[in-house]
């Protein structure tokens, strides 16, 4: 039942955005809507964790623990983004960057975007999964090109073209999966729940080829290097709350799609194949992104490259495949979504005040924006994996799993890249956050809704980090159930 709330509320809000004329009022309604969605997703999480899978709508919707985890992550970030949007869009209107009408358009797209993302983990049919992911691209392209400047339109075009090509390959992979299914003498179906039980009798050669296409296709959308070239452009040009959604959850929905196919591959007895490919792409992403992070000048692009790095870590975690690694990876999906959203909100506030992206020209953020500055400082420590915060724990779990699996080289590479990235982040943000206030700038007040969004996310970062130290057995239990389907 809760799934109808989750899918229904964004649609209702999208319709509402067309009719409610006062955007400030609508922003608050929007926020309440996503609070309800958050509660519903918690209910689904609880139900699937104890009762197994849920089917609804004559097999159209299929939810298991894996989908519940991703739905929860999406709803957390969507709620935070809705909260942050109230103040952010208000400021945009006050500064005459956008009109009232365009603000309504923004809320319409925001809700449609969230709806399409919620569809991804909810649908059972792998063809509809593809359609949902393509819909996320098409809708968010408008949000990337929202400000209609030369840069943003260029970014939107690259985004839509590269992701569409990538996703065409994913469709090819999906068709090959259904081909493998049909030549084994079973009736025509693309339902995931029909495929998994018979995975062991499917033709392994075709599955292997198909998975390559899936990985390249959805990997483009997930931002795995070397298909990541659209990502820094799109993330740096989008509206700040949307950057958080893009980086925090859109990439994860593509990871989710890869995992769905990956489970079929694992069940067909090709675990080693899955492991090698995931680790290969993960390591490439990690190494490439750490190089770009080191030399980056643009604030939002820095955060975008950091997303590629974290997607690499997640992919390595799922690739390692032991329960500890999977627990770490799934936790990392959540932690990265929360911490990266916090950082993008911070970057949004900073860019608004300083009116530039170039980190060399930004100084004294803590003095100009005390609240955002301190949150960004804590966020940097959280994002790079400092001790009391949650990312530290998930990264630690993945590295430990790599050591216990005997993949010393991967563990060493992970540690090296994390070290480099930590240094680079402290260097870049240290220069920006501290230092003297530029001339002609005063301390600037921040809207309450923005502050609440920061506090909500920060509470999750700290809370999860501290609670999980005592609850690690439950987490391992969840991870073991996760990939069973």
């Amino acid at each position: 039942m809760a799934i109808f709330i989750i899918l229904g509320i964004p649609l209702l809000l999208a319709i509402g955005a067309l009719f409610v004329r006062r955007e400030r009022l609508f922003g608050i309604i929007n926020c309440f809507g996503y609070f309800l969605v958050l509660c519903a997703s918690a209910a689904i999480f609880k139900e699937t964790a104890f009762a197994g899978h849920i089917k609804a709508f004559s097999n159209f919707i299929y939810l298991d623990l894996l989908s519940a985890v991703f739905i929860t992550v999406i709803s957390v970030v969507a709620f935070a983004a809705a909260l942050y949007s109230i103040g952010y869009i208000r400021k945009d209107i006050e500064q005459k960057i956008i009109s009232e009408r365009k603000a309504r358009f923004y809320y319409l797209l925001f809700n449609l975007f969230c709806f399409s993302m919620f569809c991804v983990p909810a649908v059972n049919n792998l063809g509809l999964l593809w359609v949902a992911i393509e819909m996320t691209t098409l809708i968010s392209a408008f949000l990337v090109g929202f400000y209609n400047s030369k840069e943003s339109v260029e970014a939107a075009w690259k985004y839509i073209i590269i992701c569409s090509v990538g996703i065409i390959f994913a469709l090819l992979g999906t068709i090959l999966f259904s081909y493998a299914f049909s030549i084994s003498g079973l009736s025509k179906s693309l339902n995931w729940s029909d495929m998994v039980p018979v995975a062991h009798i499917l033709d392994k050669n075709i599955l292997r080829i198909a998975f390559i296409f899936i990985l390249v296709g959805y990997g483009t959308k997930a931002g795995l290097a070397p298909m990541h070239t659209w990502l820094p452009d799109a993330h740096s040009q989008a509206v700040a709350p949307i950057s958080a959604l893009l980086s925090g959850v859109l990439l994860k929905t593509a990871i989710y799609a890869i995992l769905r196919f990956g489970i079929i591959i694992i069940k067909s007895g090709e675990l080693a194949y899955f492991t090698h490919l995931m680790i290969l792409f993960g390591v490439i992403s990690l190494v490439i992104s750490s190089g770009f992070i080191l030399v980056q000048k643009d604030l939002k692009r820095l955060l975008a490259y950091s997303s590629i790095e974290h997607i690499g870590i997640i992919s390595i975690g799922f690739g390692l495949g032991s329960p500890l690694a999977i627990a770490g990876a799934i936790l990392h999906v959540f932690n990265h979504a929360v911490a990266k959203s916090l950082m993008f909100f911070g970057a949004g506030n900073i860019v608004r005040v300083y009116k530039k992206h170039n980190m060399n020209a930004i100084r004294g953020v803590i003095k100009a924006l005390p609240f955002t500055g301190i949150m960004a400082l804590l966020g940097v420590f959280a994002l790079t994996g400092f001790a009391p915060f949650s990312i530290f724990i998930s990264e630690m779990m993945i590295i430990m799993a790599a050591f216990t699996n005997g993949s010393y080289l991967i563990a060493a590479l992970l540690l090296l890249c994390l070290g480099v990235i930590f240094g680079a982040f402290i260097f870049h943000f240290g220069k920006m956050l501290f230092g003297n206030l530029p001339k002609g700038m005063t301390v600037i007040g921040e809207p309450l809704s923005g502050k609440l969004a920061f506090l909500f996310l920060f509470f999750l970062i700290c809370g999860v980090g501290i609670v999980l130290v005592f609850k690690n057995k439950d987490l391992l239990w969840l991870a073991q159930r996760l990939l069973q389907g």
Partner: protein, 211 residues
């Protein structure tokens, strides 16, 4: 009969690879979609499935009529140079197209285990069409050519799906059609915007974002 149509489809794809101007590219795309429609219609006739008639009808309305019409309209409206801006000249493009055809044949015979020449041939052509679309997207400079390249890839996939697995489930097929149509609309909208902001649609010159 089916063999002849498949051959026509292959020929129309070669025409697209050597086309120098955008209208010629759109025209060949229309021929290609028409061939695809004919194949689907013949399958529908032989198998007597009502779903396939609907799919064929959608193929005709969307890919043969509506989408080419929209693309022509964009050309008329934005009034830019109609040259495609080739990175690789037609002769060399044709050479590469032949190489791709051979590679797709190898891929198809790897995929089909039984000795089934018609299925292998269809698969090879379908895969070649996907590769040709990719080629158009990479080696032609205008934004419009990229849209058409994407559509060509999608056509190849459609052929692929209808031969190897007897088509996708019906509602998935409909959803994909809807999706393709919406994506053409949205991309067309962005072409307008690019033309307005940059006064050209040469994607090779879109290079403000780096690093």
């Amino acid at each position: 009969m089916q063999g002849i149509i498949l051959f026509a489809l292959l020929a129309s794809t070669y025409l697209m690879v050597i086309a120098k101007r955008t209208p010629a590219l759109i025209r060949s795309f229309r021929y290609q979609s028409l061939c695809l429609f004919a194949i689907t219609f013949i399958i529908a006739l032989t198998q007597r499935e009502p779903d396939l008639y609907i799919v064929a009808g959608l193929l005709f309305t969307l890919k043969v009529s509506l989408i080419p019409y929209l693309l022509y309209r964009i050309i008329r409206k934005i009034k830019v140079n109609e040259d495609l801006g080739l990175f690789i000249n037609p002769q060399l493009s044709l050479f590469w197209a032949l190489v791709f055809t051979y590679l797709s044949w190898i891929f198809a015979s790897y995929l089909v285990s039984a000795n089934n020449a018609i299925l292998t041939g269809t698969l090879a052509i379908a895969f070649f069409v996907v590769l040709a679309g990719m080629f158009l997207m990479i080696f032609r400079m205008t934004a419009l050519a990229q849209i058409i390249g994407l559509l060509v890839m999608e056509n190849g996939l459609f052929l692929f799906a209808s031969t190897v697995s007897g088509g996708m489930p019906f509602f998935v097929e409909i959803a994909i059609f809807f999706d393709v149509f919406v994506s053409v609309l949205i991309m067309g909208f962005f072409v307008y915007r690019i033309n307005k902001l940059f006064t050209h649609i040469d994607v090779n010159k879109l290079s403000r974002l780096k690093g």
